[in-house]
Symmetry: C2
Subunit: 335 residues, 2 copies
């Protein structure tokens, strides 16, 4: 597969040009571009330039308001709400971030709801800046209803990711970000395109029977990871990032999409905790104890989540990123 | 197996008598007894009267201070800390509960750390009263280091349960409570006693190889549920209910235990959110939307977590609970 190598600066410029050419305002485009550059930098191509195809589709189909100006509401001492107004999630997140950080430091813990956003970016890109700022962070969002509950057969949950960040002074934070579905939906789509069977614990067909056929799986329901435990977590994400903040369930987001296959339109919940609130002057001591947990994992040959991303980051800063030629020309054609 | 049927009142009286006879103060005994009665009421025998054997052992071995008076510290607008002072967790939780509820309603979200407690009770018994009070609740605690990280071979995590509660007006809340280990440690012990093999995804032997031998598993390491995702969650529980609140990791709790096999001595984190903080006067509308998620699960033949407990509750209120005769006489001998 031929590829064109772009510097991260070129990735950003390309992304900005495509978005602005398709009616996205400079602030909305800038925030989306920062998530796309971060994903390419970390070799997370699934959330990189490829996503621009979806962003542009949602503009051309009038799903997104590319000129939305997110509005911050200070609704309780430890809560804030950002109305994304049918804009993309990244600008809503960036708009709310300063007040979330301020509240978390003042109150000890705080929660930010983002409402009415088109969510198409990775959650690790949101917990990482909070952890870089010394805070502990948890982020949750539903999606479209593609996933059946344990013991069921009909899709009702989204892929419902959970992301968590823990600050590590002087180095990249401990960050994980995973779907509560057994696998990303795109992974099943890749198997279908390649004509390859999928593992038996990824999905069921539309009659509720186990299947290794990717097309039957896409027509049926995905399964959660970890059986009834993963299913319980998927329900928790629906509740916390849905009804709790007055926003949509994955089934409701799916209905609004009306089968056009756009990015999910719904809400997100971010919770942040300031370790200094519990630990006062002893933060460094207890953070050092947390490091013994991490070394206990690494020293036995296991891996910390996000390590692959951080390793990629060291390379792409100078080497740039390879973009498949077919994708590159498809993107350039959007300008 | 012969059994003696006790009313729930008799369960409570027996529990109180045993604890007080073994040097536990009336307030500490009362709080422990309430969790034991709740467990027997819900047919959760593993957290019922059987646990008294462990409580008494921890008194006789001087691990617990049966007369500890938990101390509440109001450390930040949305944070509080309960020092359990080497007493049992239930009284520390009950002591902190009113201030946690008050802070949650005032601030929108609040977190309570319990430090220096012997934790031997179920977490669902803590999130359920918060949800009964109309709040959303999340509770986390480490344990002893019995569980290997994904890709590793040495035990470093506890069984690290996560419990979640969501209020359902006029009925029992949506509650789940599960270990992030593949299975409870007691389950492997039961297989060992019965000479039965265990499933291959529960544990590894001390050399890190998969095993179906229960004794080899107990000598080796348990595995997390759900592979690297469950492993990430187990690490999150260690961090949030350990270093974040200035309390012990499961490896540290294990060292203090010094192989006597007592209840873990460590901390716990409880986070509560008031739906009214986000939803104001619209709480009922959005709770009704949450109910469509639950009916969407039930209507396809799947089960909500805790349903079995709630069903048992309807029976035991009048029928009482059967206590195996061997356990009953072992308990009576402790008085």
């Amino acid at each position: 597969m031929s590829a064109k190598v772009l510097t991260l600066g070129e990735v950003g410029a390309l992304s900005d040009r495509i978005l602005v050419a398709n009616g996205v305002s400079a602030p909305q485009a800038g925030a989306v571009t920062r998530t796309i550059v971060a994903a390419e930098r970390d070799h997370c191509q699934s959330h990189g330039l490829y996503r621009l195809l979806g962003y542009v589709r949602s503009m051309r189909r009038n799903q997104a308001d590319g000129h939305a100006v997110p509005e911050v509401s200070d609704i309780a001492p430890s809560l804030l709400r950002i109305d994304a107004k049918r804009g993309f999630a990244p600008l809503a997140f960036e708009t709310g971030l300063p007040l979330l950080v301020e509240k978390t430091r003042r109150q000890g813990i705080a929660a930010m709801a983002i409402n009415h956003c088109l969510h198409f970016s990775a959650l690790w890109a949101e917990v990482e800046p909070l952890a870089d700022d010394g805070l502990v962070a948890l982020a949750l969002t539903p999606s479209h209803s593609w996933v059946a509950p344990a013991g069921g057969r009909k899709p009702i949950f989204g892929t419902n990711p959970i992301a968590f960040g823990w600050p590590r002074p002087g180095r990249e934070p401990f960050v994980f970000d995973f779907a509560t579905s057994a696998v990303a939906r795109g992974e099943i789509e890749l198997h279908r395109r390649a004509g390859k069977p999928i593992p038996a614990d990824w999905a069921i067909d539309k009659d509720g029977n186990p299947t290794t056929d990717a097309a039957a799986a896409l027509d049926g329901a995905m399964l959660t990871f970890g059986g009834h435990k993963g299913s319980a977590l998927a329900a928790m994400v629906e509740l916390l990032a849905g009804p709790l903040i007055g926003d949509l369930l994955s089934t409701e987001s799916q209905k609004i999409d009306n089968q056009v296959g756009g990015p999910p339109y719904h809400g997100e919940l971010i919770i942040a905790i300031d370790p200094a609130g519990f630990l006062g002057a002893n933060v460094a001591d207890h953070q050092a104890r947390a490091e013994t947990l991490f070394s206990g994992i690494i020293d036995q040959g296991a891996r910390l989540p996000s390590q692959r991303r951080y390793d990629a980051r060291k390379i792409t800063a100078t080497a740039g990123v390879p973009v498949p030629s077919a994708l590159y020309y498809e993107l350039v054609a959007l300008i």
